[in-house]
Amino acid sequence: MTSGSDRPDAGLGERLRELDAPDASGNGARMNRMFADMKAKCDKSDRTIPGFLRSRSTMARRFIVLSVFSALAFVGWFAFPLVGDHARTVPWTTSLVTFCVLLVLAMFMVTRPVHLPALPRWQSVCLICIALGATVLAAFWPYPAAQAATHDPGGSVMAGACMGVGLLLGIPVYALLRLVDRGNALGSLVAAAAAGLAGNFVLKAHCSVPGTSHELLGHASVALVFVVGLGLVHRWIPSK
Protein backbone atom coordinates (compact mmCIF):
# COMPACT_ATOMS: atom_id res chain seq x y z
CA MET A 1 0.00 0.00 0.00
CA THR A 2 1.00 3.58 -0.25
CA SER A 3 2.95 5.10 2.58
CA GLY A 4 1.84 8.22 4.37
CA SER A 5 4.54 10.38 2.83
CA ASP A 6 3.37 9.42 -0.66
CA ARG A 7 -0.10 10.87 -0.19
CA PRO A 8 -1.19 14.46 -0.69
CA ASP A 9 -1.62 16.51 2.47
CA ALA A 10 -4.74 16.38 4.64
CA GLY A 11 -6.56 19.35 3.11
CA LEU A 12 -6.33 18.10 -0.42
CA GLY A 13 -6.92 14.53 0.71
CA GLU A 14 -10.16 15.58 2.40
CA ARG A 15 -11.37 17.24 -0.77
CA LEU A 16 -10.43 14.31 -3.00
CA ARG A 17 -12.23 11.92 -0.66
CA GLU A 18 -15.50 13.76 -1.37
CA LEU A 19 -15.40 12.45 -4.93
CA ASP A 20 -15.00 8.87 -3.79
CA ALA A 21 -18.36 8.51 -2.07
CA PRO A 22 -20.07 5.37 -3.36
CA ASP A 23 -23.35 5.79 -5.20
CA ALA A 24 -25.97 3.84 -3.23
CA SER A 25 -28.91 4.45 -5.56
CA GLY A 26 -30.22 1.21 -7.06
CA ASN A 27 -26.87 -0.55 -6.98
CA GLY A 28 -28.16 -4.13 -6.82
CA ALA A 29 -30.59 -3.95 -9.72
CA ARG A 30 -28.17 -1.93 -11.77
CA MET A 31 -25.33 -4.40 -11.24
CA ASN A 32 -27.63 -7.30 -12.13
CA ARG A 33 -28.66 -5.60 -15.35
CA MET A 34 -25.08 -4.72 -16.25
CA PHE A 35 -23.89 -8.27 -15.56
CA ALA A 36 -26.74 -9.81 -17.57
CA ASP A 37 -26.04 -7.54 -20.58
CA MET A 38 -22.32 -8.20 -20.44
CA LYS A 39 -22.73 -11.96 -19.99
CA ALA A 40 -25.11 -12.11 -22.96
CA LYS A 41 -22.52 -10.28 -25.05
CA CYS A 42 -19.79 -12.71 -23.92
CA ASP A 43 -21.95 -15.75 -24.73
CA LYS A 44 -22.87 -14.34 -28.12
CA SER A 45 -19.22 -13.63 -28.89
CA ASP A 46 -18.16 -17.14 -27.84
CA ARG A 47 -20.44 -18.61 -30.48
CA THR A 48 -18.67 -16.75 -33.32
CA ILE A 49 -15.37 -17.58 -35.05
CA PRO A 50 -13.75 -14.19 -34.16
CA GLY A 51 -14.87 -14.64 -30.55
CA PHE A 52 -13.39 -18.12 -30.44
CA LEU A 53 -10.07 -16.99 -31.96
CA ARG A 54 -9.79 -13.87 -29.80
CA SER A 55 -10.31 -15.83 -26.62
CA ARG A 56 -7.32 -18.08 -27.34
CA SER A 57 -4.20 -17.26 -25.35
CA THR A 58 -1.83 -14.73 -26.92
CA MET A 59 0.72 -17.46 -27.58
CA ALA A 60 -1.90 -19.55 -29.36
CA ARG A 61 -3.10 -16.57 -31.43
CA ARG A 62 0.45 -15.78 -32.51
CA PHE A 63 1.09 -19.41 -33.32
CA ILE A 64 -2.06 -19.54 -35.47
CA VAL A 65 -1.08 -16.40 -37.41
CA LEU A 66 2.53 -17.48 -37.91
CA SER A 67 1.42 -20.95 -39.01
CA VAL A 68 -0.97 -19.52 -41.60
CA PHE A 69 1.67 -17.05 -42.86
CA SER A 70 4.28 -19.83 -43.08
CA ALA A 71 1.92 -22.22 -44.84
CA LEU A 72 0.96 -19.57 -47.41
CA ALA A 73 4.60 -18.62 -47.98
CA PHE A 74 5.63 -22.26 -48.31
CA VAL A 75 2.91 -23.08 -50.85
CA GLY A 76 3.51 -19.87 -52.80
CA TRP A 77 7.28 -20.32 -52.87
CA PHE A 78 7.19 -23.81 -54.31
CA ALA A 79 3.91 -23.83 -56.25
CA PHE A 80 4.52 -20.74 -58.35
CA PRO A 81 7.64 -19.78 -60.31
CA LEU A 82 9.93 -17.33 -58.59
CA VAL A 83 11.63 -14.51 -60.49
CA GLY A 84 14.52 -15.70 -62.65
CA ASP A 85 18.01 -16.29 -61.23
CA HIS A 86 19.25 -13.04 -62.78
CA ALA A 87 16.78 -11.08 -60.63
CA ARG A 88 17.62 -12.75 -57.32
CA THR A 89 19.94 -10.01 -56.25
CA VAL A 90 20.91 -8.67 -52.84
CA PRO A 91 18.25 -5.92 -53.01
CA TRP A 92 15.65 -8.57 -53.85
CA THR A 93 16.59 -10.71 -50.84
CA THR A 94 16.85 -7.66 -48.59
CA SER A 95 13.38 -6.51 -49.64
CA LEU A 96 11.85 -9.91 -48.90
CA VAL A 97 13.54 -10.15 -45.50
CA THR A 98 12.45 -6.60 -44.63
CA PHE A 99 8.84 -7.32 -45.58
CA CYS A 100 8.95 -10.49 -43.45
CA VAL A 101 10.34 -8.68 -40.41
CA LEU A 102 7.77 -5.87 -40.69
CA LEU A 103 4.98 -8.40 -41.14
CA VAL A 104 5.99 -10.21 -37.95
CA LEU A 105 6.24 -6.89 -36.06
CA ALA A 106 2.75 -5.96 -37.24
CA MET A 107 1.48 -9.35 -36.12
CA PHE A 108 2.98 -8.82 -32.65
CA MET A 109 1.33 -5.39 -32.41
CA VAL A 110 -2.08 -6.64 -33.49
CA THR A 111 -2.01 -9.61 -31.11
CA ARG A 112 -0.78 -7.58 -28.13
CA PRO A 113 -2.65 -8.71 -24.99
CA VAL A 114 -5.25 -6.21 -23.75
CA HIS A 115 -4.16 -6.53 -20.13
CA LEU A 116 -0.90 -4.76 -20.98
CA PRO A 117 -0.81 -0.96 -21.29
CA ALA A 118 -1.76 0.03 -24.83
CA LEU A 119 1.20 0.83 -27.06
CA PRO A 120 1.68 4.54 -27.72
CA ARG A 121 -0.04 5.47 -30.98
CA TRP A 122 3.19 6.81 -32.44
CA GLN A 123 4.64 3.30 -32.47
CA SER A 124 1.78 2.00 -34.60
CA VAL A 125 1.95 5.07 -36.84
CA CYS A 126 5.74 4.55 -37.20
CA LEU A 127 5.28 0.92 -38.22
CA ILE A 128 2.65 1.87 -40.80
CA CYS A 129 4.89 4.62 -42.25
CA ILE A 130 7.93 2.33 -42.31
CA ALA A 131 5.87 -0.38 -44.06
CA LEU A 132 4.70 2.09 -46.71
CA GLY A 133 8.22 3.51 -47.05
CA ALA A 134 9.72 0.03 -47.44
CA THR A 135 7.40 -0.86 -50.30
CA VAL A 136 8.24 2.41 -52.09
CA LEU A 137 11.95 1.96 -51.45
CA ALA A 138 11.79 -1.60 -52.81
CA ALA A 139 10.29 -0.20 -56.00
CA PHE A 140 13.34 2.00 -56.49
CA TRP A 141 15.60 -0.95 -55.86
CA PRO A 142 14.54 -3.31 -58.63
CA TYR A 143 16.51 -5.32 -61.17
CA PRO A 144 19.81 -3.93 -62.37
CA ALA A 145 19.05 -1.10 -64.79
CA ALA A 146 20.79 -2.79 -67.70
CA GLN A 147 18.50 -5.80 -67.49
CA ALA A 148 15.41 -3.73 -66.91
CA ALA A 149 16.08 -1.82 -70.11
CA THR A 150 16.00 -5.03 -72.13
CA HIS A 151 12.62 -6.04 -70.81
CA ASP A 152 9.11 -5.46 -72.03
CA PRO A 153 8.28 -1.76 -71.79
CA GLY A 154 4.62 -2.57 -71.13
CA GLY A 155 5.35 -2.87 -67.42
CA SER A 156 2.98 -0.07 -66.55
CA VAL A 157 0.16 -1.89 -68.28
CA MET A 158 0.87 -5.00 -66.22
CA ALA A 159 0.80 -2.89 -63.06
CA GLY A 160 -2.99 -3.15 -62.87
CA ALA A 161 -2.81 -6.94 -62.89
CA CYS A 162 -0.12 -6.97 -60.20
CA MET A 163 -2.09 -4.54 -58.08
CA GLY A 164 -5.18 -6.71 -58.35
CA VAL A 165 -3.25 -9.83 -57.39
CA GLY A 166 -1.56 -7.98 -54.50
CA LEU A 167 -4.88 -6.73 -53.16
CA LEU A 168 -6.44 -10.19 -53.42
CA LEU A 169 -3.47 -11.71 -51.57
CA GLY A 170 -3.62 -9.06 -48.86
CA ILE A 171 -7.29 -9.59 -48.04
CA PRO A 172 -6.87 -12.95 -46.24
CA VAL A 173 -3.93 -11.55 -44.26
CA TYR A 174 -6.00 -8.54 -43.21
CA ALA A 175 -8.97 -10.77 -42.34
CA LEU A 176 -6.83 -13.14 -40.27
CA LEU A 177 -5.22 -10.31 -38.30
CA ARG A 178 -8.60 -8.72 -37.62
CA LEU A 179 -9.94 -12.06 -36.44
CA VAL A 180 -7.28 -12.37 -33.74
CA ASP A 181 -7.24 -8.66 -32.75
CA ARG A 182 -8.87 -8.11 -29.35
CA GLY A 183 -9.34 -4.42 -30.00
CA ASN A 184 -5.96 -2.72 -30.00
CA ALA A 185 -5.94 0.95 -30.97
CA LEU A 186 -5.05 1.40 -34.67
CA GLY A 187 -5.18 -2.40 -35.00
CA SER A 188 -7.10 -2.08 -38.24
CA LEU A 189 -4.50 0.17 -39.89
CA VAL A 190 -1.61 -1.98 -38.69
CA ALA A 191 -3.41 -5.02 -40.16
CA ALA A 192 -3.92 -3.06 -43.39
CA ALA A 193 -0.19 -2.28 -43.54
CA ALA A 194 0.55 -5.97 -42.91
CA ALA A 195 -1.80 -6.94 -45.74
CA GLY A 196 0.04 -4.52 -48.04
CA LEU A 197 3.38 -6.00 -46.98
CA ALA A 198 2.16 -9.54 -47.62
CA GLY A 199 0.96 -8.53 -51.09
CA ASN A 200 4.30 -6.86 -51.80
CA PHE A 201 6.21 -9.88 -50.53
CA VAL A 202 4.45 -12.23 -52.95
CA LEU A 203 4.71 -9.81 -55.87
CA LYS A 204 8.39 -9.20 -55.20
CA ALA A 205 9.06 -12.94 -55.04
CA HIS A 206 7.16 -13.90 -58.16
CA CYS A 207 6.65 -10.91 -60.44
CA SER A 208 9.19 -10.88 -63.27
CA VAL A 209 8.15 -7.57 -64.81
CA PRO A 210 11.00 -5.17 -64.12
CA GLY A 211 11.06 -1.40 -63.79
CA THR A 212 10.51 1.18 -61.10
CA SER A 213 7.29 2.52 -62.59
CA HIS A 214 5.79 -0.97 -62.65
CA GLU A 215 6.81 -1.66 -59.05
CA LEU A 216 5.52 1.69 -57.88
CA LEU A 217 2.17 1.40 -59.63
CA GLY A 218 1.64 -2.31 -59.27
CA HIS A 219 3.38 -3.27 -56.03
CA ALA A 220 3.88 -0.31 -53.68
CA SER A 221 0.37 0.95 -54.44
CA VAL A 222 -1.07 -2.21 -52.84
CA ALA A 223 0.07 -1.17 -49.35
CA LEU A 224 -1.03 2.40 -49.97
CA VAL A 225 -4.49 1.35 -51.15
CA PHE A 226 -4.95 -0.88 -48.10
CA VAL A 227 -3.84 1.74 -45.56
CA VAL A 228 -5.54 4.76 -47.12
CA GLY A 229 -8.68 2.85 -48.09
CA LEU A 230 -9.23 1.23 -44.72
CA GLY A 231 -8.20 4.42 -42.94
CA LEU A 232 -10.94 6.31 -44.75
CA VAL A 233 -13.46 3.54 -44.11
CA HIS A 234 -12.72 3.65 -40.38
CA ARG A 235 -12.88 7.41 -40.32
CA TRP A 236 -16.31 7.44 -41.89
CA ILE A 237 -17.60 4.38 -40.08
CA PRO A 238 -15.99 4.46 -36.62
CA SER A 239 -16.04 1.12 -34.82
CA LYS A 240 -18.07 0.85 -31.61
Binding site: E18, P22, N27, S45, P113, L116
Partner: protein
Protein backbone atom coordinates in the same frame (compact mmCIF):
# COMPACT_ATOMS: atom_id res chain seq x y z
CA UNK B 1 -12.15 -26.14 -8.95
CA UNK B 2 -14.34 -26.01 -12.04
CA UNK B 3 -17.14 -27.90 -10.36
CA UNK B 4 -16.77 -26.69 -6.77
CA UNK B 5 -18.69 -23.48 -6.13
CA UNK B 6 -16.40 -20.52 -5.33
CA UNK B 7 -16.86 -18.84 -1.98
CA UNK B 8 -17.11 -15.08 -1.49
CA UNK B 9 -14.00 -15.33 0.68
CA UNK B 10 -11.89 -16.57 -2.24
CA UNK B 11 -9.17 -14.24 -3.46
CA UNK B 12 -9.42 -12.50 -6.84
CA UNK B 13 -6.83 -14.83 -8.26
CA UNK B 14 -8.62 -17.95 -6.98
CA UNK B 15 -11.83 -16.70 -8.56
CA UNK B 16 -10.09 -15.98 -11.84
CA UNK B 17 -8.44 -19.41 -11.83
CA UNK B 18 -11.86 -20.96 -11.24
CA UNK B 19 -13.31 -18.91 -14.09
CA UNK B 20 -10.54 -19.96 -16.46
CA UNK B 21 -11.36 -23.54 -15.49
CA UNK B 22 -14.95 -22.95 -16.54
CA UNK B 23 -16.68 -21.92 -13.31
CA UNK B 24 -19.24 -19.32 -14.40
CA UNK B 25 -20.21 -18.36 -10.83
CA UNK B 26 -16.67 -17.15 -10.22
CA UNK B 27 -17.11 -14.57 -12.98
CA UNK B 28 -20.20 -13.26 -11.23
CA UNK B 29 -18.25 -12.90 -7.98
CA UNK B 30 -15.50 -11.04 -9.79
CA UNK B 31 -18.03 -8.73 -11.40
CA UNK B 32 -19.67 -7.97 -8.05
CA UNK B 33 -16.27 -7.27 -6.56
CA UNK B 34 -14.82 -5.08 -9.30
CA UNK B 35 -17.76 -3.46 -11.10
CA UNK B 36 -18.50 -0.89 -8.34
CA UNK B 37 -14.81 0.06 -8.13
CA UNK B 38 -14.56 0.41 -11.90
CA UNK B 39 -17.84 2.29 -12.09
CA UNK B 40 -16.57 4.92 -9.66
CA UNK B 41 -13.27 5.11 -11.51
CA UNK B 42 -14.85 5.56 -14.94
CA UNK B 43 -17.51 7.99 -13.70
CA UNK B 44 -14.83 10.23 -12.26
CA UNK B 45 -13.03 10.18 -15.59
CA UNK B 46 -16.00 10.44 -17.93
CA UNK B 47 -18.67 12.13 -15.80
CA UNK B 48 -21.28 10.24 -17.72
CA UNK B 49 -23.16 7.34 -16.12
CA UNK B 50 -24.11 5.59 -19.34
CA UNK B 51 -20.60 5.75 -20.77
CA UNK B 52 -19.14 4.60 -17.46
CA UNK B 53 -21.44 1.57 -17.46
CA UNK B 54 -20.50 0.78 -21.04
CA UNK B 55 -16.81 0.92 -20.25
CA UNK B 56 -17.21 -1.29 -17.18
CA UNK B 57 -19.11 -3.85 -19.25
CA UNK B 58 -16.52 -3.61 -22.01
CA UNK B 59 -13.76 -4.14 -19.41
CA UNK B 60 -15.33 -7.40 -18.29
CA UNK B 61 -16.01 -8.40 -21.88
CA UNK B 62 -12.32 -7.98 -22.63
CA UNK B 63 -11.37 -9.77 -19.42
CA UNK B 64 -13.54 -12.65 -20.58
CA UNK B 65 -11.80 -12.67 -23.97
CA UNK B 66 -8.35 -12.51 -22.38
CA UNK B 67 -9.02 -15.11 -19.67
CA UNK B 68 -6.77 -17.71 -21.28
CA UNK B 69 -3.82 -15.34 -20.92
CA UNK B 70 -4.18 -15.32 -17.14
CA UNK B 71 -1.31 -17.18 -15.54
CA UNK B 72 -1.63 -18.77 -12.13
CA UNK B 73 0.29 -16.76 -9.59
CA UNK B 74 -0.16 -13.38 -11.29
CA UNK B 75 -2.26 -10.60 -9.77
CA UNK B 76 -5.70 -9.88 -11.19
CA UNK B 77 -6.20 -6.30 -10.04
CA UNK B 78 -3.55 -4.73 -12.32
CA UNK B 79 -5.08 -6.68 -15.20
CA UNK B 80 -8.55 -5.27 -14.64
CA UNK B 81 -7.29 -1.74 -14.01
CA UNK B 82 -5.09 -1.78 -17.11
CA UNK B 83 -7.96 -2.92 -19.33
CA UNK B 84 -10.24 -0.23 -17.90
CA UNK B 85 -7.64 2.54 -18.21
CA UNK B 86 -6.87 1.50 -21.80
CA UNK B 87 -10.57 1.78 -22.60
CA UNK B 88 -10.88 5.18 -20.93
CA UNK B 89 -7.86 6.46 -22.87
CA UNK B 90 -9.27 5.07 -26.11
CA UNK B 91 -12.58 6.78 -25.37
CA UNK B 92 -10.89 10.14 -24.86
CA UNK B 93 -8.93 9.71 -28.05
CA UNK B 94 -12.10 8.99 -29.99
CA UNK B 95 -14.12 11.81 -28.52
CA UNK B 96 -11.25 14.19 -29.18
CA UNK B 97 -11.17 12.94 -32.75
CA UNK B 98 -14.88 13.49 -33.15
CA UNK B 99 -14.45 16.95 -31.68
CA UNK B 100 -17.13 16.43 -29.07
CA UNK B 101 -17.62 19.77 -27.38
CA UNK B 102 -17.09 20.26 -23.69
CA UNK B 103 -20.62 21.57 -23.50
CA UNK B 104 -21.95 18.23 -24.67
CA UNK B 105 -20.04 16.49 -21.90
CA UNK B 106 -21.09 18.99 -19.30
CA UNK B 107 -24.80 18.58 -20.01
CA UNK B 108 -24.51 14.82 -19.48
CA UNK B 109 -22.23 15.03 -16.49
CA UNK B 110 -22.79 13.95 -12.95
CA UNK B 111 -26.46 12.95 -12.92
CA UNK B 112 -26.26 12.32 -9.17
CA UNK B 113 -25.68 16.04 -8.73
CA UNK B 114 -29.43 16.59 -8.84
CA UNK B 115 -29.76 14.97 -5.44
CA UNK B 116 -26.95 17.01 -3.85
CA UNK B 117 -27.37 20.18 -1.87
CA UNK B 118 -26.28 23.26 -3.83
CA UNK B 119 -23.11 23.89 -1.82
CA UNK B 120 -21.95 20.29 -2.11
CA UNK B 121 -22.73 20.30 -5.81
CA UNK B 122 -20.61 23.41 -6.30
CA UNK B 123 -17.74 21.91 -4.32
CA UNK B 124 -17.97 18.68 -6.29
CA UNK B 125 -18.08 20.62 -9.55
CA UNK B 126 -15.00 22.63 -8.58
CA UNK B 127 -13.09 19.49 -7.77
CA UNK B 128 -14.14 17.82 -11.02
CA UNK B 129 -13.02 20.90 -12.93
CA UNK B 130 -9.67 20.88 -11.10
CA UNK B 131 -9.17 17.19 -11.92
CA UNK B 132 -10.11 17.78 -15.53
CA UNK B 133 -7.49 20.51 -15.79
CA UNK B 134 -4.80 17.92 -15.16
CA UNK B 135 -3.19 16.28 -18.17
CA UNK B 136 -4.70 12.82 -18.66
CA UNK B 137 -1.36 11.15 -17.83
CA UNK B 138 -1.40 12.86 -14.40
CA UNK B 139 -5.12 12.35 -13.84
CA UNK B 140 -4.88 8.59 -14.30
CA UNK B 141 -1.99 8.45 -11.82
CA UNK B 142 -4.07 10.36 -9.22
CA UNK B 143 -6.95 8.02 -9.95
CA UNK B 144 -4.95 4.87 -9.39
CA UNK B 145 -2.69 6.12 -6.61
CA UNK B 146 -5.15 8.11 -4.57
CA UNK B 147 -8.57 6.70 -5.27
CA UNK B 148 -7.59 3.08 -5.90
CA UNK B 149 -4.78 3.19 -3.31
CA UNK B 150 -2.38 1.36 -5.59
CA UNK B 151 1.34 1.57 -4.81
CA UNK B 152 3.50 3.44 -7.31
CA UNK B 153 5.04 0.22 -8.62
CA UNK B 154 1.61 -1.12 -9.56
CA UNK B 155 0.49 2.20 -11.03
CA UNK B 156 3.63 2.13 -13.19
CA UNK B 157 2.73 -1.37 -14.36
CA UNK B 158 -0.82 -0.30 -15.24
CA UNK B 159 0.05 2.87 -17.14
CA UNK B 160 3.12 1.33 -18.76
CA UNK B 161 5.92 3.54 -17.53
CA UNK B 162 8.65 3.57 -14.86
CA UNK B 163 7.97 3.99 -11.15
CA UNK B 164 10.08 7.15 -11.14
CA UNK B 165 8.00 8.71 -13.89
CA UNK B 166 4.82 7.86 -12.01
CA UNK B 167 6.16 9.49 -8.83
CA UNK B 168 6.98 12.66 -10.77
CA UNK B 169 3.51 12.71 -12.38
CA UNK B 170 1.82 12.21 -9.00
CA UNK B 171 3.89 14.93 -7.36
CA UNK B 172 3.07 17.40 -10.13
CA UNK B 173 -0.60 16.44 -10.11
CA UNK B 174 -0.99 16.91 -6.35
CA UNK B 175 0.87 20.21 -6.51
CA UNK B 176 -1.38 21.45 -9.32
CA UNK B 177 -4.54 20.29 -7.57
CA UNK B 178 -3.50 21.97 -4.36
CA UNK B 179 -2.80 25.17 -6.24
CA UNK B 180 -6.18 25.02 -7.98
CA UNK B 181 -8.06 24.30 -4.79
CA UNK B 182 -5.95 26.41 -2.45
CA UNK B 183 -8.60 28.96 -1.61
CA UNK B 184 -11.14 26.28 -0.87
CA UNK B 185 -8.78 24.24 1.25
CA UNK B 186 -7.86 27.36 3.20
CA UNK B 187 -11.53 28.12 3.64
CA UNK B 188 -12.07 24.68 5.15
CA UNK B 189 -9.37 25.13 7.77
Amino acid sequence: MANSPPTPAATDEELMDAYVDGNEAAFRFLFERYAPILLRLTRRHLRNDELAEEIVQQTFFRLHGARNDFRRGSKLRPWVMTIAMNLVREHWRRTKRRKMTNLEVETQAAPEADFMPLELRQRSELLHVALEKLPSSQREVVELHWFQERPYAEVAQIVGTSEGAVRVRAHRAYATLKQLLVSEIRGDE
